[in-house]
């Protein structure tokens, strides 16, 4: 016996979550198993589809127009531009708190480093910050939160030639939090609008924060804070800060650990719950039984191996960061099913000498047939009922192209749909 389902998705990142959702919405009985928390917690929470070409040209204004010119083995070419569109429609439906669906064009969002980034979907909380908006802007950093230097970010944006006036200010977060307070600490305080002590007096934290910002406000019509404005109720936090300040409030996406990434993860898990997907996180899939097809996989818990069986499988275990692709001095491998990963035998060909050179290792990953089934070195399908999605796929460099979220959603969607079709 084993724990059974029609479709089993391995990996709980953006690709796995999308693929489980797509399969469940197509009518399949789906389970998802994932080892650890996904790279969403490290990502900014922005969903990039394609910001630059593989050659580094850009920013691209319309990603769909650029897809036909990508290299043949790029995952977007495998699934096609129309599927990318459908996949994003599924995402928009599942995560209504995101913006950007009104246009095919990329939006430009300011980042915490003061650059401007082309992205396809962004949290509602970031939307008042878009760089094409001419309103005068104040960026606010907190003394205790060193990850966001508002003055420097403002200077960078200014130097980048944004079409608005921008200033930075640093304030002390009311209540004098410890120097290394966690993002969740700010968020929990703001969510509940808890009382903090300011000048010997107890005051609700949202009001007290707005008071601290007011002296720097000037004529600014919008105010950007680091992305710590609430976890359960970010919209409520922004609204009350905005009311107090008389200006629009937005969040600047931050580096890891990222609250917008966490919120996105929560929203997707909720959508999976609503779709009736069984979810199990915390332990890795370590092994499988099967020949031409996968029969069952084993989830390992401290030496105990729990069998999970399904008709169709989706491998969405991530790339080098998510541990779906593993490398050592000997070579590069996909550790669960030992699918083939194309790479030069000579380790010195994996990378270039210059730090920002055209390295090969970011593109390492499994290659697939047109149905996203991983292929062996000589081009045969590895297993009849296994598909791969997300950054376990080779042929693209998400960091250089700014395509991570989009590839995960598009290939996750395609793999999930196909898996569901195969069991129906």
């Amino acid at each position: 016996m084993a724990i059974e389902s029609e479709v089993l998705v391995i990996g709980g990142g953006l690709a796995g979550l999308t693929s489980a959702l797509a399969a469940a919405r197509a009518g399949a009985d789906v389970r998802l198993v994932s080892a650890k928390q996904s790279t969403l917690r490290h990502a900014s929470g922005l969903v990039d589809v394609l910001g630059y070409t593989p050659d580094g040209d850009g920013p691209i204004s319309n990603p769909y127009d650029a897809i036909p010119d990508l290299p043949d083995d790029h995952p977007y070419r495998t699934v096609g531009a129309e599927t990318v569109r459908e996949a994003l429609a599924l995402f928009d439906d599942a995560v209504p708190s995101y913006r950007g669906s009104h246009t095919d064009a990329n939006a430009l969002l300011p980042t915490h480093g003061g650059t401007v980034k082309p992205t396809a979907r962004y949290p509602a909380g970031a939307s008042a910050g878009v760089a094409s908006d001419p309103r005068e802007t104040l960026l606010v950093g907190f003394e205790s939160s060193v990850d966001f230097d508002a003055l420097r970010a403002a200077a960078h944006l200014d130097a980048a030639g944004v079409p608005f006036d921008v200033r930075g200010a640093t304030v002390r977060f009311p209540g004098d939090l410890r120097a290394d307070a966690k993002v969740t600490r700010y968020a929990a305080l703001l969510d509940a609008n808890r009382e903090v002590t300011v000048g010997g007096r107890q005051r609700p934290v949202r009001e007290a924060l707005a008071e601290r910002v007011k002296p720097d406000l000037g004529d600014a019509e919008r105010v950007g804070f680091p992305a710590v404005l609430g976890d359960d109720d970010p919209a409520g936090v922004r609204e009350s800060l905005g009311d107090e300040l008389g200006a629009a409030v937005f969040e600047v996406p931050m580096g890891p650990p990222s609250l917008p990434g966490l919120r996105l993860e929560d929203a997707l898990f909720d959508a999976l719950d609503d779709a009736g997907v069984g979810i199990e996180t915390g332990n890795p899939v370590v092994d499988f039984d099967g020949g031409d097809a996968v029969e069952r996989v084993y989830v390992e818990k401290n030496g105990a191996r729990i069998p999970n069986a399904a008709d169709q499988y989706v491998l969405a275990t991530g790339g080098l960061v998510g541990t779906g692709v593993d490398s050592d001095r000997e070579g590069v491998r996909e550790p669960v099913f030992d699918c083939h990963v194309e790479h030069p035998d000579d380790r010195y060909e994996w990378f270039e000498d210059e730090a920002f050179g055209d390295h090969r290792f970011p593109r390492f990953g499994v290659s697939t047939d047109s149905g996203l089934r991983p292929e062996t070195a000589d081009g045969n399908v590895e297993f009849a009922n296994l598909r791969a999605a997300g950054s376990v796929l080779g042929g693209y460099d998400f960091a250089a192209e700014k395509s991570g979220g989009g590839v995960s959603i598009a290939t996750g969607y395609a793999a999930g749909r196909r898996a569901a079709e195969a069991v129906r």
Binding site: M1, H42, A187, P256, D273
Partner: protein, 453 residues
């Protein structure tokens, strides 16, 4: 206990490369140094975002500091930072870390060192913590005179004294002691021999071979023994229904409250008893099952991380949470789809997943499993920690933090349709009852109601 017993403690080999592929936190057994684990921390701070204490307590520096940073800074005689006593041992940080840093092992080890080397054995804190950690002892005593104990424990002046003298919060109701312990019931029902008979009869009824090897050893832990024997009885009945012969081996406390209070020598003493009796049974082909998720967590993960006892790895690899085990070996979903529950159990449940179930990948199990059961709705009340964390919420100075952590769960419970709680963990159940006045049941009780006539 003398101090020398404490210094006997040495952490065994922690995480192995096989278990957590990306981490290389291997420690050699002779030199119990956790630095290799510390060095695979790249300070992404992901663990900090999953810590329920850091979220509400500004004095707590968080898991990244308690674990890898502390072990990296600490060389030789540096003392352990006392903030490690504010960690509730929920173990959430463990599953957060992308590179497999053995955080809770580091916390447990640091706490052990702090208590044995820095905490005065005469301090109120030490005495109180030791009492709480060794709950089994007081429970054993109380169970001899349950009615008297129940009356005394919740007698106002006694509680005032407990708070004033011992720092045990007066806010909480002491758990009620059952008039018949689980093992008294077990003995009265024929013990292992009785179970064998009933299991055989069940196998016959189910058309399974009479000599099928279906044998489990039940680790009931302290709570099902003294406070909620109905959970233990439900386990036995459900397992026998599926044709399993149950045995109840000699056992001590799982050690969970002792790890959390840095009483590692106490924990080792009981671990030796448990590993010894369970590993004999594992050798004979039994699997161990536990109804409390903190007990299964301790046997599966904390034991091999902290102790080097003969047979410990085998026991860990053959221990399961009781419902999980049935899901793997039986068509539990199929039987449930055809069952319904009588009117004695409420139709809607507000389910809370204990942190220690989460780490075993079981946080969605109840929702998934009972989804197709007629007449029952199970609603997950969200992923917040309940806040009680075993003995944590019993300490007067931690009570407020504990309730603040739990606030989110209380709100979600109130918002859920059901007015009955559901959870696998007895202390989470205590917190759920305390925060909402709901009655709380265990999934095994629901299984019993659905499957056993």
């Amino acid at each position: 206990m003398s101090d020398s017993r404490h210094s006997e403690f040495d952490p065994a080999v922690p995480e192995t490369a096989e278990r957590d592929p990306p981490g290389d936190s291997v420690v050699d057994g002779e030199n119990p140094d956790l630095r290799p684990g510390a060095d695979s921390c790249y300070k992404c701070s992901t663990c900090d975002t999953s810590c329920p204490v850091a979220e509400v307590d500004d004095d707590f520096p968080g898991p990244k500091f308690q674990g890898p940073e502390q072990w990296r800074l600490k060389d030789g005689d540096d003392s352990v930072d006392e903030s490690v006593m504010d960690c509730s041992n929920c173990m959430r940080c463990d599953s957060a870390c992308p590179t497999g840093v053995p955080l809770s092992q580091m916390h447990n080890t640091a706490r052990g060192e702090y208590v044995s080397e820095e905490l005065s054995k005469l301090s109120v804190e030490y005495v109180r913590d030791r009492l709480l950690a060794n709950y089994r002892k007081s429970a054993w005593l109380a169970s001899k005179v349950p009615r008297l104990a129940n009356a005394a424990a919740n007698f106002g002046p006694a509680r005032w004294l407990a708070e004033t003298l011992l720092g045990v919060t007066r806010e909480r109701e002491f758990p009620e002691f059952a008039t018949e312990t689980f093992t008294e019931w077990w003995a009265a029902n024929g013990g292992a021999a009785g179970s064998k008979e009933r299991a055989r009869a069940a196998r016959e009824r189910r058309g399974e071979p009479a000599d099928a090897e279906k044998q489990v050893a039940y680790f009931h832990g302290c709570y099902a023994e003294y406070n909620t024997p109905e959970v233990g009885r439900a386990l036995v009945r459900v397992y026998e229904h599926f044709g399993y012969e149950v045995v109840v081996p000699q056992q001590g406390c799982s050690g969970t409250p002792m790890f959390a209070n840095g009483m590692l020598a106490d924990a080792r003493r009981d671990a030796e008893i448990n590993v010894s009796s369970l590993s004999d049974l594992v050798d004979e082909g039994y699997d161990a099952v536990a109804s409390c998720t903190s007990c299964s967590m301790a046997l599966r993960q904390e034991y091999p991380e902290l102790f080097d006892i003969e047979g410990i790895e085998d026991v860990a690899a053959n221990t399961f949470e009781s419902v999980e085990y049935l899901r793997v070996h039986e068509d539990l979903a199929g039987e449930l789809a055809e069952a319904d529950v009588g009117a004695d159990l409420a139709a809607e449940f507000a389910y809370h997943a204990p942190c220690h179930a989460r780490n075993q990948g079981l946080d969605r199990q109840a929702v998934e499993l009972f989804g197709d059961l007629d007449g029952v709705g199970v609603e997950d009340v969200g992923d917040s920690c309940s806040g009680i964390s075993g003995t944590y919420g019993w300490k007067a100075e931690k009570y407020e933090t504990s309730m603040e952590i739990g606030a989110e769960m209380f709100d979600h419970m109130e918002a859920a349709d059901g007015e009955t709680g559901l959870t696998e963990c007895p202390t989470c159940a205590m917190q759920m009852e305390h925060g909402t006045d709901y009655d709380v049941r265990h999934p095994l009780e629901l299984l019993e109601a659905a499957l056993v006539d």
